[in-house]
Symmetry: C2
Subunit: 519 residues, 2 copies
């Protein structure tokens, strides 16, 4: 059943238009790309930045980094780098020369050009949770393996919320679809249920090529148009410490050669895959990301690249990863300083270790989201829906996180901090004087409806009114909202011809057997 | 029953000493006064600061501020200010001359001098929830009027948690004690259950004088020693817009004349008691606080004063106060800039509008606590235990908030962001190379136990382990911890002679009828 038939079945019309405007279920802020107007928090002085830079360069020069990818090894040799077996030694002059070729800012244009994203500068973009193998919601009250339906529902939330700017990897891994064709079905769902910028997993030639082709088809683009600018991106993780895997590098090389964007995010867990000291973990992370970015710049100068950070720490008791910790916040801020030093956009994440959408989930997630803001992060991955260190996706958590994201977007609006004469409001203060109140005066009436952030999920009623309405705690409110959004969801418009071409492509590639599953 | 008899009954000894060290129930961070090492977030440029300053000064010059206190009016007349009825007009030269007399930093020395607090500079101090009339906990699952036992329990948490530096007002209003003697009983509880710096309500002559006398007795001080430096403080709110009430100013004048500290915190709710625009609400708040501070400096130059902010916004739908909003964060940051402009320490708060300790409570509280950090706040009121816009105190919320406060304290520690050679850890990275992990190496072993923040309340186990342990959500974990802390609480030592003198004072003042209740 295609999106169009579903839309027709439901009737569309005024209600459909209202749903598409996003005002059917909740009142949310309009789509916008916020600018981060705060000066970043910078824990490092110039000597600290120099120390991490020098550390990263010495790692690349003296220790070297393994590329389990023959093509990459050949390219590095051709570039004059020292290659010992599968280990590459990069001197700092080469790395810095290559990194300087990367743009400090670029755009990603999805199938709906109104959703074009500027990546870099003072822009801050939020993406949905990516890649948890499991799903949890309040009606299940259990952790279960992901399904296509759950994945579709989380994609609907991704589309529904204006504060979500891009779609990351699969919002939950739909393990009920065979791995050989999973990318075809999920990308079909992504491209029909959303019109936002999206991601391809770098998991072998076929998947990457299929996804690029599907994004091209959905955008109604010629091959030349597709390659003329980024229409999608990939995100890779290194295999810390100091190793890049075959499929990840292979996928990136394919995207780079076709002008698409690449995010390189080492997973440097301090005390496990990286030094127990945060600046050491950051230095290693920088070395890992810059080595890959240097490769892509050599292959295609100007390839849009982003430095990602996923530096956190382990639980001292169990060795399990911890997220949204004080150490996580500081390493994110430090990485932000390094990304600016290299003139590259930056990615960080909204993360927590909590298993359910409770208080812990919210303080850990708040810590990580504010660290993203403070660090000058440009792309915030996993900004909505993540639980259990990324092992669980939850729709309640998604909706709770979007409430925080909206608040961050409102926080960024310059009008909140205006200090013109009408903001200082001396005449309004004079009018009210030493008695009375500001409710009824013209200055208030003129601004009342837009003066303050209006949440969709926070319940600001007093205890008695809240209790009379059922005493509903936050996650249950989010769950009810989830069900309503899904029930009333209408997919964004997609040209029928492109839609059919997309469906035909999926059918053909399935008949060919999809992609190998020997990864 | 005195604290000593209770202690003796329970046995004390080694277990008692362990409890006093605070390691009996949970492992928490040691007592320390953190330094805020971050550069503040400053939404205003110099012209914005100048605009708010000019607005505040014009309010004081042109509109004037009402002092419902005859003594204050006489003092202002004596100082040469224009007084029209009960309205005082202050010109900016006078205000700035007086404000310049206030110290930018001072100390408060409670009965335990090890708990002496530096107020101002880059110090950040946290205090417990103050003044809610109601109480909620998970076993009640209901909002009830506060009692002395609940108040005592919250004071025990105040003492127990090292991240709480000072005791504010009553952590819950014990309405089961008659208002005439309530201050005697609660201050007795405060001074015996805690040894931290504390507060007197400015609610008429008798209460203020009684509390000063009790603090003096508990500290074993002569009158001269008491007056030689601050041993306590008061906090007053103006009656916005632009009015100071009789008992508040009266109490402050009494404290000022005896060298104690004063926090002036206007409650300027934008759109209700202040302009709907945030910088207007801040300008009005500054005018209200500076007018009182100018009075106290005239009366006793050098009186330790703090600019407080409680500028937030109303809910556009209901008119109810909202807390921890984007507007709240920005007004707190703006007030921080103004406090630095005037060279005064600053107070803000940890706040939320949520009715129960759920996700909303945590994102609103996180927003407000991070705004406190970003604004350069020196005293964070209500930092633990506050719900429903200050109408409810909750022990679960208290313990959850302290988990965030500990994380903020850890975040402030310079060792997290060290970049010396041992932090960059090149040799450790070389040792591990491109395979293996950092768990076992010496660099990790040497630092493992102190490298990372260890939470007491966050559950970092995976879902399965968490589920096997009962699938306990955050507030229930906090509730269990609350019961355990109270069951094992031991009061801090207090000299028996002082203790008896304190009890005698309370008995005598009760026999005299306490304080009037005609406020």
């Amino acid at each position: 059943m295609t999106t169009e038939t579903r839309t027709r079945k439901r009737g569309g019309g005024r209600a459909g238009a209202a749903a598409r405007r996003g005002d059917a279920v909740i009142e949310q802020m309009p789509w916008s790309v916020p600018r981060n107007i705060d000066r970043p928090i910078e824990p490092l002085g110039p000597e600290g930045v120099a120390a991490i830079h020098d550390g990263a360069m010495r790692i690349l020069e003296e220790i070297g980094i393994v590329f389990l990818n023959d093509e990459a090894l050949e390219i590095f040799k051709e570039a004059g780098c020292k290659v010992v077996g599968d280990r590459v030694h990069l001197d700092r002059e080469f790395v810095m020369e290559m990194v300087a070729k990367a743009p400090s800012e670029f755009t990603i244009t999805p199938r709906n050009p109104d959703r074009t994203l500027p990546v870099g500068g003072d822009h801050i973009l939020f993406g949905n949770v990516s890649s948890p193998p499991n799903y949890w919601d309040m009606s299940l009250n259990a952790k279960v393996a992901g399904t296509r339906e759950q994945c579709q529902n989380l994609l609907k939330l991704t589309q529904y919320f204006n504060c979500i700017h891009f779609a990351g990897g699969y919002p939950v891994e739909p393990v009920d679809i065979h791995a050989s064709v999973r990318h075809l079905d999920v990308l079909y769902d992504k491209l029909t249920l959303t019109d936002k910028a999206m991601h391809a997993y770098s998991l072998g030639k076929e998947r990457v090529e299929d996804v690029m082709e599907m994004v091209r088809i959905a955008g109604g683009l010629t091959h030349e148009e597709f390659e003329a600018r980024p229409h999608m991106y990939t995100n890779i993780n290194s295999t810390s410490p100091l190793k890049h895997d075959q499929p990840m590098i292979d996928g990136c090389l394919r995207l780079a050669r076709r002008g698409q964007a690449i995010v390189v995010t080492p997973f440097t867990l301090a005390g496990a895959m990286a030094p127990v000291t945060m600046s050491g973990a950051v230095a290693q992370s920088i070395a890992e990301s810059l080595s890959a970015i240097a490769l892509f710049q050599y292959v295609r100068p100007g390839t849009p690249c982003v430095i990602g950070t996923f530096t956190s720490n382990v639980d001292m008791k169990s060795g399990a990863p911890a997220f949204g910790t004080p150490e996580y916040m500081r390493s994110t801020q430090m990485t932000g300083q390094m990304a600016r030093y290299y003139g590259l956009p930056m990615r960080s994440s909204g993360v927590c270790a909590a298993n359910v959408p409770d208080g812990q989930a919210m303080w850990e997630t708040s810590n990580s989201l504010w660290a993203a803001v403070q660090s000058g992060t440009n792309m915030v991955y996993h900004a909505a829906g993540w639980l259990e260190g990324g092992l669980i996706a939850s729709p309640e958590k998604f909706i709770m996180d979007c409430e925080i994201l909206q608040q961050i977007q409102r926080y960024m609006q310059p009008e909140v901090i205006g200090t013109g004469p009408e903001d200082i409001a001396l005449e309004a203060i004079r009018e009210v004087g030493n008695d009375g109140h500001f409710f009824g005066i013209q200055h208030t009436q003129d601004r009342y409806s837009t003066a303050f952030y209006q949440p969709y999920l926070s319940d600001w009623r007093n205890y008695e009114a809240w209790e009379a309405a059922g005493a509903v705690w936050t996650p249950e409110r989010a769950h009810n909202m989830f069900k309503e959004i899904i029930a009333r969801f209408e997919a964004p418009p997609l040209d029928v011809v492109r839609h059919e071409e997309l469906a035909d492509f999926v059918a053909r590639r399935k008949s060919e057997g999809g992609a190998p599953t020997d990864f």
